[in-house]
């Protein structure tokens, strides 16, 4: 029963990375560029943080994650807008690139492709003091600072999308490209910015995964980037809906973690969020848009 009481707190702990990555995906989607590389950006961020933070501190680790994401975003955008590669395929290629690249760099930097622990990296939970005894409240307060940073960044990103001139430009790039061009703004540049923001958000979300475990764990993202992408469309491409869907998925992750206490097979427990997400997608509750830089490619759903 105790795991049920700690579920809200665990969901908040699990949710930061999904919420920020999903809002990043929304920023890109708003500008008309679908980011299928969120998973790769998260992995890249987690690795860049583990590489830099032990030497230069957590702030530099997050900066490295964001910087690496910018480089990857520039590569993808160059392929899509200059070489006119298909955006979906370019995203998949970026995921492969990161998967292979971080394995090679991990082998070169750490001498292994496996888990590398950095105890000093661990972002410790806040002490709720006497409130720790209270059910639900105690675990809700005992969050890691790295996780709270994610929620703060998510709030800023929401604000940026909803209430700033840049947010307006991003939406215009996706919906009224001609109006943007008439106003003297280059839509392609705005799209690149949106994609870079999306990648940076996902990378910082990935960096927090390394901070939360105090280690570089290959595959630590466990499909969270894809689930963040589903959250964007399950949330009807609105910031509020996206955050709500992300927190719902975070609750699923938290519940599946809780089930491990009952000796449930870890593989089946890990499969639960995918099963639940797949059921929602199969029911037609989350559909990708048909917006794309050019109307060609390997084929899309009807």
């Amino acid at each position: 029963m105790s795991w049920l009481l700690s579920l809200p707190g665990d969901a908040v702990a699990q949710g930061g990375s999904i919420v920020l990555a999903a809002l990043g995906g929304l920023a890109s989607d708003a500008a008309g560029v679908l980011n299928t590389a969120l998973e790769g950006f998260m992995s890249l961020g987690a690795f860049a943080y583990a590489l830099v933070a032990p030497r230069a501190g957590a702030f530099a680790g997050n900066l490295a994650a964001a910087g690496a994401a910018c480089l990857l975003a520039a590569t993808i955008i160059h392929a899509v807008f200059k070489l006119r590669a298909d955006i979906f395929v370019a995203g998949l290629a970026a995921n492969l690139l990161v998967q292979g690249g971080v394995a090679l760099l991990s082998w070169r930097a750490f001498g292994t492709k496996g888990v590398v622990a950095f105890p000093e990296l661990l972002s410790h939970r806040l002490d709720p003091g006497p409130l720790a005894e209270l059910p639900v409240i105690g675990t809700l307060i005992a969050q890691r600072p790295s996780n709270l940073l994610l929620y703060a960044l998510a709030a800023l990103l929401w604000l940026l999308l909803a209430a700033t001139p840049l947010g307006l430009r991003l939406r215009a790039a996706g919906q009224r490209e001609e109006a943007l061009a008439l106003a003297g703004v280059n839509p392609s540049r705005v799209r690149f910015m949106a994609f870079a923001i999306s990648g940076m958000a996902a990378a910082v979300a990935g960096a927090a995964l390394s901070a939360q475990t105090g280690a570089w764990v290959p595959g630590a993202t466990s499909g969270r980037g894809w689930i963040a992408l589903v959250a964007v469309y399950l949330g009807r491409r609105k910031p509020g809906g996206t955050v709500a869907a992300s927190l719902g998925f975070a609750a699923l992750f938290a519940a599946s973690n809780g089930l491990q206490a009952f000796d449930a097979p870890p593989e089946l427990v890990l499969a639960l969020p995918y099963v639940a997400t797949a059921l929602l997608v199969l029911a037609g509750k989350a559909r990708l848009p048909r917006l794309r830089p050019r109307d060609e490619g390997p084929g899309r759903d009807a």
Binding site: A93, G100, G223, E267, Y274, A278, E296, G299
Partner: protein, 347 residues
Amino acid sequence: MNIPSIRARVSAGSLLRAAAPPLAAIVAGPLVVALFSGDPGTAIASFAFGPVSSAGAASAFVEQSALLALCALGAALAFRSGSFNLGGEGQLYSGGLVAVLAALALSSASPAAALAAALGFGALGGAALALPSALGKRFAGADVLLSSFLVSQAAVLAIDWLIASPLRDAESNLIATKMVSRAILPDRAAFPAGYAPFAALLFAAALALFFARTGEGRAVDLYGGNPTFAKSVGLPVGKLALWPLVGAGALHGLAGAFIALGPAGRAVRGMSGGMGWTAIAVSLLAGNRPLAILPAALLLGWLDSGARQAAVIAGVPFDAALLVKAFVLLLATARLLPPRARGGRPA
């Protein structure tokens, strides 16, 4: 959907576009392995010539390429029908496990019948995993890109558990199922690369004929290119939303069956090894054309086999191949000349 026509006018742009991804693989492959090796010369040599350095290595290379081609034929079938199937990895894994279970259950049958049935069940195992996405697309307009990936991920985890726990062979050091009867496995003296190359050739020819010569093939292309138009001219769009994706799953499942009934003779945990993803690159590299898939599969098969040889001989991590595949995938849909240079055809 962009389906290059065989009769399309050959221009500098189309030649460059076709040549860039394989050239990238040929140039980037050796460069990447050299970069991550203490002995670049050995690494490059083992990468370039390792796949054909011995009869055994060459057989493994051909078999690997054939398996890749089978998966890529499935990917092409789905792509041409407008479904971006990202679930190949799970479909392959499912096919492998189901084939082994069938072979174990049919151990008393004649070897030929048991093998045929096991391969058939393997194809069914892959098809069954593609079916939810196809039904979701048909009846709820569900997005195949997302649904196929999510179903596949869940299935991979579930199959991992099945192989590691209830179906595990306790007497083996491998995390694997029991071994099937040796009698149903290919005679490696007579068929060093197994039966997969024959299946790849057969299905490539059949699919090429299907798309080029049959009305149903043209209907699949038409539906994939413009489903609204396909509906308006009275094509059975409900059927076209379903069977190509299920067929794609079956081809992935068949490849999985060949893997499991290959040298290992059992379902080994993680046996899909990323082949479902590589198959997407092969299919795109070949422009989703069945016959072009064969050389494209040989190219990426060489990349995998070369990287494996470089890993064994020169200690270069196998992941070097992933980097090169990513470049190939990135370039596979790119257009490398501006519209005017391509004859001014609008994008």
